[in-house]
């Protein structure tokens, strides 16, 4: 039997790690779908209908899997973290309820029209549906990130003891919901979603462009893929640098508001000035290799780099070390490496974007097979960056579930038994592996079947709607 506290934490981690893939896909695809629909309605060019229909299929599957996994997440606060829910519910439940009413409802109802209703409604209402769906996904992020950022930088509340239980009472809603972290988190997350999907699109398009132009294996709708690649590169050249520049400001904000997390990100144990920015660091003792909290590290880094980052330009700045906190440090190695992988990927995406745009400018975009291979290999790396980024955020703030207010272990349901928690944890591991496998398989099939052919389109044959492709793709 796994201890119910540990099992609940692992189960929640697994749920969020799997769930985040699908909202990233829908939030990232949303602006593209709005653009495709707008161009389709305005210009009537078949390529935009093909693009819209192809990516809508992936959006629809992601939305279904996202609903299934997201509902679990909402219920898990009650099932596994009942003590947290009782303590923080007054402040934390509101955003979740508002997410449902304001965002999810908008998205789910208009998605019905967007996926099934091309022939049922006017162009105008159809375009409006694409906006409603996109707005819904982004509003969801607003409320979910309000809830999460409040746990990172809690404001606008007081603690009252009721019936022997500590209860968070909302005193200032604006301070609580527009807490200092929210804007950093929202920009970072939304830009990451768009960037990740742009990378995914570029990877898929590169696969077809490579086969057509490099291997001379004729692809039926090569114009669709060429267009996809160019659109993805335009979005990538904007989002990739923005992510790194804004991420730098975000990290500085973390160093000011969550110094323990920042110290874990940089593996700083003793408070010091002129702290180096390690590129890599390893335990000096091999027996410490599996100990995430080892203090004896050998690192290669830039002298004064971490101080320079934390202070915004002063290599002499002091960074508070993990030893100076009264609480146990989070598992430093996980946070340290997750942060490094995220940053490295962030820079790699900039390089990819610049490389692609340079080739495009030289008129060699469809000939550079090395670029195509790099894009294909990077198609899922945006999602990896999102995952490690969230690991920095969530593992880094341990042992707190609400920073400085409540520890994660204290938030677990008091009546939960090890047997129950172990049983569901095993169920989740099995179920979510199957779910991921199924999702990958279905998205793979959609990609291989490609966009609908031109003679199937609404413009050329008004009796056939969007869904005919579902069966004709076989």
């Amino acid at each position: 039997m796994v201890d119910p506290v540990l099992a609940s934490r692992l189960q929640f981690a697994l749920t969020t790690i799997v769930h985040i893939i699908f909202p990233v896909m829908s939030m990232g695809l949303a602006p593209f779908l709005i653009y495709f629909t707008w161009k389709e309605v305005r210009t009537g060019q078949p390529v935009y209908e093909q693009l819209r229909r192809f990516w809508t299929r992936i959006f629809a599957v992601s939305f279904v899997v996202g609903t299934v996994t997201g509902l679990v997440l909402e219920f898990e606060f009650g099932t596994n973290f009942a003590a947290f829910s009782t303590t923080a519910g007054e402040l934390f439940g509101g955003p979740l309820a508002l997410e449902g009413m304001m965002a999810f409802m908008l998205e789910a109802t208009f998605l019905g029209i967007f996926v099934f209703g091309r022939d049922r409604v006017s162009d105008w209402l159809y375009f409006l549906s694409s906006i409603a769906v996109g707005l819904g996904t982004w509003l969801s992020a607003v409320w979910i990130l309000i809830a999460n950022s409040w746990m990172q930088t809690p404001r606008g509340f007081e603690i009252v003891v009721e019936n022997g239980q500590r209860i968070v009472k909302l005193t200032d809603p604006l301070a609580a919901y527009l807490n200092p972290r929210f804007s950093y988190m929202f920009i970072h997350m939304q830009n990451a979603a768009v960037e990740s999907v742009a990378l995914f699109m570029a990877g898929v398009a590169a696969y077809y462009v490579f086969r057509h132009h490099v291997w001379d294996y004729p692809i039926e709708h090569i114009d669709v893929w060429e267009k996809t690649l160019k659109i993805a590169l335009v979005v990538l050249i904007i989002t990739a640098p923005l992510q790194v520049i804004q991420g730098d400001e975000y990290a500085r904000h973390v160093s000011e508001t969550q110094p323990q997390k920042f110290a874990a990100m940089e593996a700083v144990w003793e408070t010091d000035s002129y702290v180096p920015e390690y590129i890599v660091a390893f335990p000096t003792d091999v027996s410490d290799l599996l100990n995430p909290r080892t203090k004896d590290l050998f690192g290669i880094g830039i002298p004064g780099g971490a101080s320079w980052l934390a202070s915004g330009g002063n290599p002499q700045a002091t960074i508070r070390g993990l030893d100076s906190f009264s609480t146990k440090a989070p598992p430093v190695a996980i946070v340290f490496w997750a942060f490094r992988i995220m940053v490295a990927l962030g820079f790699w995406f900039i390089l990819l974007a610049v490389w692609g745009v340079y080739r495009w400018w030289r008129g060699e975009l469809f000939e550079d097979d090395l670029l195509h291979k790099a894009l294909m290999a990077s198609s899922l790396l945006g999602f990896v960056a999102v995952e490690v980024g969230w690991i920095v955020t969530e593992v880094g703030r341990q042992p707190w579930v609400i920073q400085g207010v409540m520890k994660t272990g204290a938030g677990v349901s008091p009546n939960l038994t090890g047997a129950e928690a172990t049983f569901t944890l095993l169920g989740f591991v099995t179920g979510y592996l199957l779910l991921l496998g199924l999702y990958t398989y279905v998205v793979g099939r959609i990609i291989r079947s490609g966009p609908p052919s031109k003679d199937e389109l609404t413009q050329s044959d008004s009796s056939r709607g969007l869904e005919s492709e579902v069966t004709s793709g076989e």
Binding site: A60, G93, I113, L416, G431
Partner: protein
């Protein structure tokens, strides 16, 4: 403190907000049960179909709707968390395994139609067809079990009254689904749905009354509530509505039958709410007034909900208008 201080001192317009949120919560649950109920019903009736074309019809009937319908459950969870956080925490952790069984059932139901359409070979479709039926049948049964456990304050997961409650909800979704398919289909399929609908309605009245009887017998603590005139009125209403439903189907008035289903669902939800009142969590001994959040967030949530929920209803009107009338298999799936 910002200038919102006036919101913290007294309930908005002096309204009994705790009781209103209790009512709203059951209204939201009723919306879920009515709307997603017909999706479940269609999923169960899917088991009666052998013909591929008819199966496609059933899937197409709920295709644009089920996702939006299920969101009412998300909103129910959110609203319970926001208004009665301790109840949300107690209930969900007390019926821990039941909650995850419900989530698994919902997951299967959501995934299955999407997967079914993905490939055309027989084995694949048989597998996802069965998954669709199982997910659609198991979920309402477990939801009924959960609500009944909540109502009587059961400490175990499976109780006799709980099982009866589960069957009641299960049968009600078939009543719902048959009426919905009466609206959405034509021809022989429609005729068969009419027959299933009538049978399910008669069965529903039987199990619903048995469940009430079982509660009366096994739960002495709830007996006094049965004298409430509201309970008597709701029981009479349920019997009358079942009659109306049957007559409407026989006379081929499908929209009337569907409307009667809506009233039946809210009748059932009303019965549960009335029996539970004034408690919101009987096991924990929490009354509505004890469990409600404090005034400031309550006022804020009340303002937000009274603005947002009417807008949400507009979304549903737009969605259902866009896909009104019988399904045209050529244009869907």
């Amino acid at each position: 403190m910002s200038n919102l201080g006036w919101l913290a001192t007294k309930p908005l317009f002096g309204l009994p907000l705790a009781e209103l949120w209790f009512t709203l919560l059951f209204f939201i649950f009723g919306m879920f049960l009515f709307l997603d109920g017909f999706d479940f019903g269609v999923g169960i009736l899917f088991a009666t179909r052998d013909d591929d074309h008819e199966k496609e019809h059933l899937l197409a009937a709920i295709g644009p709707f089920w996702d939006g319908n299920e969101v009412w459950l998300v909103v129910f969870g959110g609203a319970l968390f926001a208004a009665f956080p301790s109840v949300y925490a107690n209930l969900f952790s007390r019926y821990y395994l039941l909650m995850f069984a419900i989530l698994a059932g919902l997951g299967l139901r959501g995934l299955a139609p999407e997967m079914y359409e993905e490939r055309e070979d027989d084995r694949w479709r048989t597998f996802w067809g069965y998954s669709f039926v199982i997910g659609s049948a198991v979920t309402p049964f477990l939801l009924g079990l959960f609500v009944m456990n909540w109502l009587v304050g059961a400490t175990g997961l499976i109780t006799p009254v709980g099982v009866l409650g589960g069957v009641t909800v299960l049968v009600l979704t078939v009543v719902d689904g048959a009426a919905f398919l009466g609206v959405k289909t034509r021809g022989a399929l429609r005729g068969e749905m009419r027959t299933y609908g009538v049978q399910a309605a008669v069965g529903y009245l039987g199990v619903a009354i048995s469940t009430l009887g079982a509660i009366y017998v096994t739960e002495p603590g709830l007996r006094s509530s049965f004298r409430s005139p509201l309970i008597v009125a709701l029981v009479i209403l349920t019997a009358t509505l079942t009659g109306i439903y049957v007559v409407a189907l026989r006379r081929r008035r499908y929209y009337a039958a569907f409307a009667a289903t809506a009233a039946l669902v809210f009748g059932l939800v009303g019965l549960v709410a009335t029996l539970l009142f004034p408690f919101v969590d009987r096991t924990a001994g929490l009354t509505i007034r004890e469990a409600i959040i404090s005034t400031l967030p309550l006022n804020l949530m009340s303002i937000m909900a009274s603005v947002l929920l009417p807008i949400v209803l507009v979304y549903f009107v737009v969605l259902y208008s866009a896909f009104s009338g019988p399904i045209n298999i050529e244009e869907t799936y």
